[in-house]
Symmetry: C2
Subunit: 149 residues, 2 copies
């Protein structure tokens, strides 16, 4: 990188989304209660779930901060939302209800969104925000991966 040019060397890739959690066992149980299967690649300190196109990780909050080399203190809005896109408005209703039944907190009930889609938000027991949405202007491919182009 002697020339300072980054173009081409950084693959556009989010391999793992790791969420810091207060209690790894409880957080794992929450995500399993959604019907997701803990990967056998999980280790004692980190739970992994195979997602469609990525991997979701759960890791103790302070350990994640330490791993990243930053202080663990934090509060309030985290500036991050993970969207789980569904294939229809009806699916949004069903998936939203499943999260709430599993113990997630609804922060926005399913509604027609200003951008033309259908959206809802839940917070997991550690406060991580997930948007459950349907976007009529994009599609999910055969692997369940959102295609916007």
């Amino acid at each position: 990188m002697a020339d300072g040019q980054a173009a081409g060397v950084v693959p556009p890739r989010v391999s793992i989304i790791t969420l810091g959690v207060a209690d790894l066992g409880a957080a794992t149980a929450f995500y399993e209660s959604l019907g997701w299967t803990r990967s056998p690649a999980s280790v004692e300190l980190m739970t992994l779930f195979t997602m469609q196109g990525s991997v979701l990780g759960l890791y103790e909050w302070g350990a994640l901060a330490d791993d990243a080399g930053v202080p663990a203190d934090g509060s309030g809005f985290r500036g991050v939302a993970l969207a789980l896109n569904c294939a229809s408005e009806a699916d949004v209703d069903t998936v939203f209800a499943a999260w709430v039944a599993a113990g997630a907190t609804a922060t926005k009930a399913p509604h027609k969104a200003f951008w033309g889609g259908y959206s809802s938000y839940v917070a997991d027991p550690d406060g991580h925000l997930w948007e459950i949405a349907y976007n009529p202007y994009s599609r999910l491919d055969e692997q369940g991966i959102l295609r916007i182009d």
Copy 2:
């Protein structure tokens, strides 16, 4: 969901990872300077990048909080890290250098990690943490998607 059972109805999917940013233009320019191409599906209020297996979104911090139905105030550690997995230790060095050259802040330089891999962390200009890592126990498929099983 009358029976409270969620199993099977919630697809294991992170369709979009949306990061709240202070200045959408500046944040877009930062990610473009990594060599990533802004998707033509982007709209005035939201920048989108097609990732390998998902989509990265940039959205103004307060607008994202409002969309999620939560207060916008927040500080400190956010309990989230996005991992960009590379195919080798040498690639980690190269990719890490590219982020730093683009203006990211190194919070951990590339190093042999306790779990047997090779890891580094950077924070983007809005403080969002990215781990640039190589994991010898997993592979990247032909689409660049991390496979842990």
